[in-house]
């Protein structure tokens, strides 16, 4: 059962099969963009048999509204994609110059290709070599990509919290900025922020990364501790060891190095560490942070050692990280009281 042009049928790669191309052109109009999903208020309510007539009536109303909406609403949005080099692929189709990425579709680049996504009015995302992204959502105020592997660079002008990138080991929420996000095949990643802030979150574990700083993420542990890129190499390596290496001696020595070498500017690293180190280590981190940025009067040692959220928030305010009001409206920068690593 040997067939010609196996690869074109498999993933659209060259050489093209004329019959398959003809079928693609004929059948592509049957494709449909995902309409907004309408879910019931709660799954349990959906099961309440006693309310079946009411549910049926409501469903009829929803259906009617849906029909009206579908006749009036414009086509579901897709993002414009331009090739910057080579032939990036949207799904199984290679694009020579431009294409459109719809919700649920995948944009893939190889070693020869790069692409740029124009996200309506909120910004641009450059897709580097050997990268795969999927468009998960695009509607007013909600723009979401998944970065499965590779590297993207985002330049976003939307209000904080509107542009989100999922990776296998963390979710990056734009707080008005420019940043680069890289994901390896094993799900580990690196976020580097050039302008503004990015929130990096996974499974309730959060990091807030300012301009000039980077943050690693691990497939199992989630986002690590932010550290400035101009910190010395040993300091940066020590942060990674504390985040992702649980072997006793190395980790203890790494934490000691961080506490000794941290600059005033590295207070953001120490602040995140408060909630990430073991309880027995927290007092040393408190002392190190207090030596760089004295805690406000209401912030006592006891409150911080107990990871009192109010106290941690007040101390954050004293770090001198600029006007944070814009992103505080989106979410408060509290370290999650997670299990120490």
């Amino acid at each position: 059962m040997e067939m010609k042009n196996d690869n074109y049928l498999w993933d659209g790669s060259d050489p093209p099969d004329e019959e398959v191309q003809r079928l693609e052109r004929l059948l592509e109009p049957l494709r449909s963009d995902p309409p907004p999903l309408r879910l019931p208020d709660s799954a349990s309510r959906w099961h309440m048999r006693a309310f079946v007539p009411l549910v049926a009536t409501a469903a009829a109303v929803v259906l009617l509204v849906g029909v009206v909406w579908r006749t009036r609403a414009p086509q579901a949005a897709a993002w414009e994609v331009a090739s910057l080099a080579g032939r990036p692929r949207i799904g199984a189709s290679a694009i020579d110059t431009t294409g459109r990425l719809a919700v649920g579709q995948t944009l893939t680049t190889d070693a020869e290709s790069r692409a740029q996504i124009d996200i309506s009015t909120i910004g641009q995302v450059d897709i580097e070599h050997d990268t795969r992204v999927r468009l998960l959502e695009t509607r007013a105020g909600h723009y979401r990509l998944a970065l499965d592997r590779g590297t993207l660079r985002a330049v976003i002008s939307a209000p904080p919290g509107q542009f989100i990138v999922d990776t296998p080991s963390a979710t990056a929420t734009d707080l008005g900025c420019v940043y680069t996000l890289h994901v390896d095949d094993d799900g580990t990643g690196l976020l580097s922020v050039t302008v503004g802030w990015v929130a990096f979150e996974f499974n309730g574990h959060e990091s807030f990364v300012p301009a000039g700083a980077s943050c690693r993420t691990d497939a199992h542990a989630g986002p690590g501790t932010p550290r400035f890129d101009d910190a010395d190499h040993e300091f940066q390596m020590a942060v990674e060891r504390v985040d992702f290496d649980n072997s006793g001696v190395d980790r203890t020595a790494a934490l000691r190095l961080i506490l000794d070498r941290a600059r005033v500017r590295d207070a953001v690293t120490l602040w995140h560490l408060l909630a990430r180190v073991r309880p027995s280590e927290r007092g040393d981190v408190f002392d190190a942070l207090a030596a760089r940025v004295p805690p406000p009067s209401a912030v006592t040692r006891e409150r911080v050692l107990a990871l009192d959220r109010g106290a941690l928030d007040l101390w954050w305010n004293a770090l001198g990280l600029g006007d944070t009001s814009f992103w505080r409206q989106w979410k408060r920068p509290l370290p999650s009281p997670s299990t120490p690593r």
Partner: protein, 184 residues
Amino acid sequence: MDHALELHSVLSALTPRDLPRLHLTIRAAAGGDRDAFARLYADYFRMVHAILLGRVPRRDVDDLVQDVFLTVFTRLKSLREPAAFGGWLATIARNRATDHLRQTREQVELPKDMPGGDSIDADTFAVLDIVRQLPDAYRETLLMRLVEGMSGAEIAERTGLTPGSVRVNLHRGMTLLREKLEWK
């Protein structure tokens, strides 16, 4: 034994990187996280759309896709093995199509898909009609590839089939389709 083989093929189709993420997304969606469920919807819409398009009139497909995902939303807690999500969802879609056809036959015999009422060419429906005559496995895989624009790897990732199975389905299905089309 069949079940064990099926589960093995599902697990082998997912990369180690995908599994934890899918597991967490499904667990969050089962717990009522609507954002997580929206991600599943975005990721699996095309697979469900293709399965339904291969079975029911096109005008009914979008509404049935909604039905399928509503069913999944209410039953997700019962899914014990997150890695089996794609196959489980596909089964729900096939069952929903079967129920729909049974209900519509009991009411009134509906005409087949016909051009008119939208801008789709008559040739498109003619080809769709031929694809619908193919065996299930070939029909679904070809519609995911030719209609939805999914690559073979994406089809494997979504359906839980091994890449090898998808490749075979594509090739054998395409061979049958060429024979039926008799294009010169």
